[in-house]
Symmetry: C2
Subunit: 717 residues, 2 copies
C-alpha cells in the first residue's frame, strides 16, 4: 500500500517530543492530541500540526462543588426489598451502595420525591406511614412479612470515569465530583470556566468534548462481591435532580415519580422498551443538554476553534441521530471503535468530520485489565483484531479520520505495533480516497432493522460489542455493518407510517420483551397488520430469537403466521409438533455457518421449511416460510462470524427471490469485497489468518484475487 | 424370597387354559382377568379364581350411536388463525382435523356456542359479521391482514383408545364411537346395557371399569406430519356438549363460552393454572360423573359383584382424591405403573383395594412401538426397570395387589420373564406383609408439595413419567415416592389457611407460569406473606426451576427474598451479579449428583450460599439461603437419579437443621431401606446393576447388608 498522509490523529506526550514527531511522520499524522494524563509540550504544539485538546467539562471543579454541594449530579436509588417481621421496620438507605460514590440528599425538596413501597402489595405508602432520620427510613407499622423498599435521591460524590481510572490504575489523586449544569449557578460557572480555558489554550485547534454533562450510568454497591450494581450507556438515571423534576412537571403538566426511574428495581434499561414517561423525560433532557451545549460550542467557535464531541463516555442528551444533535453545532464526532457497527454509527452522524479512535488505547492494560503495552500483551494482535472488524465497515461508509489515544512512550518496546499502525493508516487513506471518488455499489436490497429505538439509536444497542454480545441484534448489526446492502433503523411508529415501503427486508431480533424484539408493542393490531400486509405483498421479515413475542393473545410470536414458527412458553407442552426433515439448499448455508439453538420452538405450519436444526435438540435453528408474495425467515439466534454473515446475506437474497450468485460478491465468506464503480476499483479484504485466492464475478468477467492473511487488495477492473 | 400366594391378578386367555393355570400357580395368582382382545374360557373361569372382567362402558354401542347421533361425545375445536387479504374470508372448520375423528356439529343449539375471532385485535365478531354453510365460516368484511379463527363444537366419531389400538396394531374392525351419558336417553341405554352385561357374566366377581365416561383428550390433525394436535390426561375438553353447557349455565348463573375451552389455541392444559371458570366446570363435571357413576356401581353391587376402577384411560370426573370420588362407591382402584409416584398415587386413594398393573403389558410392542414380546424385545429388562422404580415406593406405602395384562401366549418364548415375575410377586407379598404388621418409620420431616392442583392431583402431573419428564416436579415426586418422609400435596388456598404449620419443607418446582410453579397466584400478598412468615419461623422452602415466578412487581421469583436467587428475564441484563465461590459441604451432595443448569440466574443476596454450579455457565445449580429461623433452598432443575434423590433428602435435612447421618438410612444412594419397627424388619433394596454391601445405622448398631444387583434383603434387627 502506498504511504500517504493526513486524516490521522496521534497522541503526543511531553518529554517524548522526538518520538512524537517521528511517529507523526511514520503514521502520516496531521493532528496531535493530548489524553487523560498526558500533556503536549510547546515543542509539539508548535510543530505545525493541528492540536486537539480533550475536556470533560463537568469535572475538575471540586472547589466549586464544595461551595455548591447542591450542584452535584444526582440519581434516584432504591434499597433492596427487606421483609418486615413485626413492629417497626428500619431501612438504611445507603447501606447497599458505595459510600464514596453516593450520599443521601435529604433536603426537603428531595424528600418530596422519595417513596416507600410495600413491594409485596405493590403499594406506595402514604407519607404518614413512614419517617426519616439520620439516613434511615422507619416504617411505623409494616404488614408483617411484606417486603419494603425506599426510593430516594442521592448526590454523586465521584464522577464515574474518574472512579474507574482510580480503581483500575490505582490512582490516589483527589476524587473528582460531577457538576450538574441544571442549576443556573453551575451553568454560569462552567461557561466562565470554558471561556477561561479557551483563552488559556491558544494553540488548540479542536476542543474535543469528552463528555457533554451526563456520562454513562454506573452504580456501585457496598458489597465487595457485587461492586457494579448497574451500568448502562444509555440510561438517564444520572440526569435527575429536584430542579430537573420540577422543570419537567411545569413543562409536561405531570410529575415524574421515583418509580418512573426505579421501575421495581429494574431501572429503565436501554435494552427494554421505554415507557411513555421515559420518552418524555428523554426528550426533555435532550433539549436541555443541546440548549446549554450549544452555548458552549458557540463559545468555542468564538475563539476560532472547532468543537468535536467524543461519543462514548457521554451518550445522554448527545444522541447523535437524535432530533437535537444538530443544535449543538459540533464540527465533528469522534467514536472509539472495536467493531464495524461503531464505524457505521460514526459515519452516518450529521457532522462535518467523522473520526475513529482505534483500539487498543496506548495504556499498559486494556479491556478487563488484560495486559496490552506491557509484558504478556500483544497489542499488534489486538489492533489487527479490531481493525479487521472495522475495515469491512469502512468499505461501506466513508470515515474521515482515524487516530489513537494514550501514552506513546509505551510503544518503545513494540516496534511491530508501530509498523502495523503505519500499514493501517495507509490502508485507511486508500479506502477513504475511493469513497471520495464515488460511493460503493450496494445490492438492490434495503434492510430495515426494526426496534423500539429506531433511528434514534441506529447500529448500537448500549455500548460496545463485548458489553452487549448476549444480544442477538448486536451480532446482526455487526454483520450488516460490512454487507453491501442499504441499512436503516426504524421504530414501530415508522413501520405504521409508511417506512416499510422503502424496505425489502425487515429484521426483528431479540429476547422476548426487550427493546430489540419489541415486547408489548406487538399487541398493537395496526402494527401487526401493517407488517403482515407488507410481507404479503413481497417483503421479507427476518426474525431472530423471540421476535414479536408477547404473552398476550394467540401464540407467542405475534408474527407466527409469517414466520411459520413459534415458541412454547409452557401452555403448549401438550400440543403436538410438526415433524420435519432439514432441507439442504445448495450454497445457501456456507460450510462453518450455524447458530445456537433455542428451546421450545415449534413449527406452526406444515409448509415451514427447516433449513438447519440444532444437532442436540433437533429443533429448528434456521427456517423459512412463504407468506403471500413475501417470506418469513427465522433464526433461533445469531452469532457474528464470517460464515454466518454470508448466511444472513444469502437468506435475505433468497427469501427476496434473488439469486445467490450476485456480481461483486466474493466466493468465500472469509473474504469480502466492495466495488467502487466511479473509480472501477474493487477492494477485497481477507478477514482470516490464512492466505487465500478468491474469485469475484464482475461486469468484466471473473476476477481472481490473491490475498495475504488479513490482507487488503485494491484492483482496477 | 419365600414363595407365597395371593394378591396377584393374571391375564387368562382362551385356548391357553393349561398355560393360564400353570402361570397362576407359578405367580401365586388368586384372580384371573380378561384383557382388551382376550376372552376367558369356562375352564379358566371355573378353576376357582376370582374373575375380573374389563368394561369400557361408553363404547361398543355403535348401533345406538347411529340411532342417536346427538349422543356422541363432543369437543370444542378451533381453526388455526388465517390472515384476511381483502374481501371475504372463508374458514374451513374441519380441514385441519382428522376427519375420521371429528365431524362439525352444526345444529342450531351448537352454533349458538360458536365464536369467530379477530385474533389480531382479540375481538369476538358479532353474529352478523359472519355466516356458516357446508362446513365453512365466511367472514364478510374482515380487516385486511388481521388473522381470524372459528371455534365450534364437533362430534367425535371415534373413541380415542380404540383409535389408538387400531392405528398401533393395524386393526381393521369397525371404529367404535363414544357415547356421552349426559343425555337421559344415553344414560338409560347405558344403564340397561350394564344390567344385561352383569346378567350375562355370572362368573365375574369384579367389574373393572376401564373408563368412567370421559377418556383422556387426544385431538388429531389432518396433517400427516402433525397427527397429534393435543393430548392431555387431565383435560375436560371431551366432556362438553350443548346440554352440559346449558346445564352449567342454569346451575352457575353464567354461561361458559367456546373461548373458556379454546383459550387462544392453548386449550386448558393441566400443566397450567386453571381459570375460575375451569374450576367451576370441573366441579360441575365431577358431580355429574360421580352421580351417574354411582348408579352404575350400585347396579354392579346389586349383582353381588365388586366394582373397581382402572385409573388411567379415564381421569376426568374420576379424580380419586377429588371430593366426589367416594360417592362412586368403588371397591377398589387399579393403576398401571411405570414409576414409584404412580404406586403412591394408588396407595393413598380412599378405596378398599389398591392394585397395580405392572408393565410391560403382554403385547408384542410396548411404549412408542418398541418391541417387547417379540424378537428384539427384552421384557425382563423392561419389567425390572419399572419394578425397581415401583419397589422403593412400595416400601413407603401399602399396596394390596399387583397384576399383569395382555396375552399370556406371548410368554412362551420368554421363560426368564416368567421367572422374574415369580420373583417380583414373592417380593411384593413379602413387603406387603411387613406393612400389615405396622407402618414403616419416617424421618421427622413433613414435606408439602405446593402447586395449583394440590390435594386434588397428588403425585402425578398429567400422565406417566415418560409423558411428563420435561417437568421438574415429576422428577421431584418420583424421588419423594421412595423417601422415608411424610409427603402431602397442598394448593395455595391450603397454604393460606394453615396447612403450612403441618409442614417442615414446602416444595415449589416448575417453569414460570405453570400449574406447578404457580404463575399469577404469587402476586397475592397474602400467599407471599404466609409462606414468608412460615419460613421465617423455621420452615424450609425448596424451589426448583422458576419457583414463584411472575413478571409483575419486584423481581421474577416472588420469594427471592427467601431463596436468595432470582432469574433475569431481560430487564436486569445491565445489573451486576454477585460473584461467588462454590461451597463444599462434606456429605451433602453425593458423588454423581448434579442437576442441569438454567440460564440468567443471579444471586439477590451476598449471603446466599452456592453449593453447586453449572460447569459450562458457572451459574448456580444448587443454592441455600438463610431466612429468619428457616431456609430457602434452590435447585435450577431436578432429574431423578439415585444420587440426586439422596441429595434432595440431604438438602431438606440440612436446611431443616438436621444431621445428615440419620438412623435408618443407607450409606449409598444406589441402595435405600425402610425400617418397620413393629416387626423390627429392615428392608434394603439395590436400585443398581452392581452387587454392593451397604451399611445402615440402626438402634442396634450398624447393620451391614450384602445386596445382589437389583436385589432386596429383609433383615431382622
Amino acid at each position: 500500500m502506498e504511504h500517504t498522509k493526513g486524516g490521522f490523529t496521534m497522541p503526543g506526550e511531553s518529554g517524548y517530543e522526538k518520538l512524537t514527531l517521528e511517529l507523526a511522520e511514520r503514521w502520516g499524522a496531521d493532528v496531535v492530541r493530548d489524553s487523560d494524563g498526558t500533556k503536549l509540550s510547546d515543542e509539539i504544539i508548535s510543530a505545525g500540526y493541528g492540536v486537539y485538546s480533550t475536556i470533560c467539562i463537568i469535572r475538575e471543579h471540586n472547589e466549586f462543588a464544595r461551595e455548591h454541594p447542591e450542584c452535584l449530579q444526582q440519581s434516584f436509588l432504591s434499597t433492596e426489598p427487606v421483609a418486615a417481621e413485626g413492629g417497626e421496620l428500619k431501612i438504611d438507605l445507603i447501606a447497599g451502595f458505595f459510600n464514596q460514590q453516593f450520599k443521601v440528599n435529604d433536603s426537603p425538596a428531595s424528600r418530596a420525591y422519595w417513596q416507600v413501597w410495600d413491594r409485596t402489595e405493590g403499594r406506595v405508602l402514604d407519607a404518614g406511614e413512614w419517617s426519616y432520620a439520620d439516613g434511615v427510613v422507619t416504617v411505623k407499622s409494616p404488614v408483617p412479612f411484606h417486603t419494603y423498599t425506599a426510593s430516594f435521591l442521592a448526590y454523586r460524590l465521584w464522577e464515574e470515569i474518574n472512579m474507574y481510572n482510580h480503581v483500575t490504575n490505582s490512582w490516589t489523586s483527589e476524587h473528582l465530583m460531577p457538576i450538574d449544569p441544571r442549576l443556573p449557578v453551575a451553568q454560569e460557572y462552567l461557561f466562565n470556566y470554558l471561556d477561561g480555558w479557551c483563552r488559556d489554550h491558544p494553540a488548540t485547534t479542536v476542543v474535543r468534548f469528552t463528555s457533554m454533562f451526563y456520562n454513562f450510568v454506573w452504580i456501585w454497591g457496598s458489597h465487595e462481591r457485587n461492586r457494579t450494581l448497574f451500568t448502562d450507556w444509555g440510561s438517564y438515571d444520572f440526569t435527575v435532580s429536584e430542579k430537573a423534576l420540577a422543570d419537567f412537571e411545569r413543562e409536561y403538566g405531570y410529575a415524574l415519580t421515583a418509580e418512573d426511574f426505579i421501575n421495581h428495581g429494574d431501572l429503565q434499561v436501554t435494552h427494554m422498551p421505554p415507557t411513555e414517561h421515559k420518552r418524555d423525560y428523554m426528550e426533555f433532557t435532550q433539549r436541555f443538554v443541546a440548549g446549554f451545549g450549544r452555548k458552549l460550542v458557540e463559545l468555542v467557535h468564538s475563539y476560532g476553534k472547532k468543537a468535536y464531541v467524543f461519543y462514548d463516555d457521554s451518550w445522554v442528551g448527545v444522541e447523535p441521530y437524535g432530533p437535537h444533535f444538530k443544535e449543538f453545532g459540533f464540527d465533528g464526532i469522534i467514536k472509539c471503535v472495536f467493531s464495524g457497527y461503531e464505524a457505521r454509527l460514526c459515519a452516518g452522524v450529521p457532522a462535518g468530520v467523522h473520526e475513529l479512535r482505534l483500539h487498543p488505547y496506548l495504556f499498559p492494560v486494556g479491556l478487563g485489565g488484560a495486559p496490552t503495552f506491557m509484558e504478556g500483551g500483544d497489542p499488534t494482535a489486538d489492533a489487527r483484531k479490531y481493525w479487521v472488524n472495522v475495515r469491512r465497515a469502512l468499505l461501506r461508509a466513508k470515515i474521515d479520520r482515524i487516530g489513537l489515544g494514550g501514552y506513546i512512550h509505551l510503544l518503545e518496546g513494540f516496534p511491530d505495533f508501530v509498523d502495523y499502525i503505519a500499514e493501517v493508516s495507509d490502508e485507511f487513506r486508500a479506502i477513504r480516497s475511493l469513497h471520495l471518488d464515488g460511493a460503493p455499489y450496494v445490492l438492490p436490497m434495503r434492510v430495515a432493522v426494526l426496534h423500539s429505538w429506531g433511528a434514534l439509536r441506529p447500529w448500537t444497542l448500549s455500548g460496545h460489542f463485548h458489553e452487549t454480545y448476549m444480544h442477538d441484534l448486536i451480532h446482526i448489526n455487526e454483520a450488516l455493518s460490512g454487507l453491501p446492502v442499504d441499512v436503516r433503523f426504524i421504530d414501530y411508529n415508522d413501520a405504521k407510517s409508511g417506512a416499510l415501503k422503502d424496505a425489502d427486508v425487515v429484521i426483528c431480533a431479540g429476547r422476548a420483551g426487550s427493546a430489540w424484539s419489541g415486547g408489548a408493542v406487538w399487541n398493537d393490531p395496526e402494527l401487526v397488520a401493517a407488517v403482515t400486509e407488507w410481507v404479503h405483498s413481497g417483503g421479507v421479515f427476518l426474525g431472530v430469537g423471540e421476535p414479536t413475542a408477547t404473552p398476550e393473545g394467540w401464540g407467542y410470536f405475534k408474527l407466527r403466521h409469517i414466520l411459520g414458527i413459534d415458541r412454547d412458553t409452557g401452555a403448549r407442552v401438550c400440543h403436538g409438533r410438526y415433524t420435519f426433515d432439514v432441507e439442504t439448499v445448495p450454497g445457501l448455508i456456507p460450510d462453518g455457518a450455524g447458530v445456537r439453538g433455542l428451546s421450545h420452538l415449534y413449527l406452526t405450519d406444515g409448509e415451514t421449511r427447516v433449513l438447519a436444526a440444532d444437532p442436540e435438540t433437533g429443533l429448528p435453528t434456521v427456517a423459512a416460510h412463504r407468506f403471500g408474495a413475501g417470506c418469513g425467515v427465522y433464526l433461533s439466534s445469531f452469532q457474528f462470524t464470517p460464515e454466518n454473515t454470508r448466511m444472513l446475506l444469502n437468506l435475505m437474497l433468497r427469501a427476496g427471490g434473488k439469486e445467490l450468485g450476485q456480481m461483486w460478491l466474493t466466493d468465500s465468506p472469509a473474504a469480502e469485497c466492495a466495488w467502487f464503480p466511479q473509480s472501477r476499483s474493487l477492494v477485497v479484504i481477507n478477514s482470516s489468518a490464512e492466505a487465500r485466492t478468491v474469485g469475484v464475478a464482475t461486469d468484466n468477467g471473473r476476477a481472481e484475487i490473491e490475498l495475504e492473511p488479513f490482507g487488503t487488495v485494491i484492483k482496477k477492473i
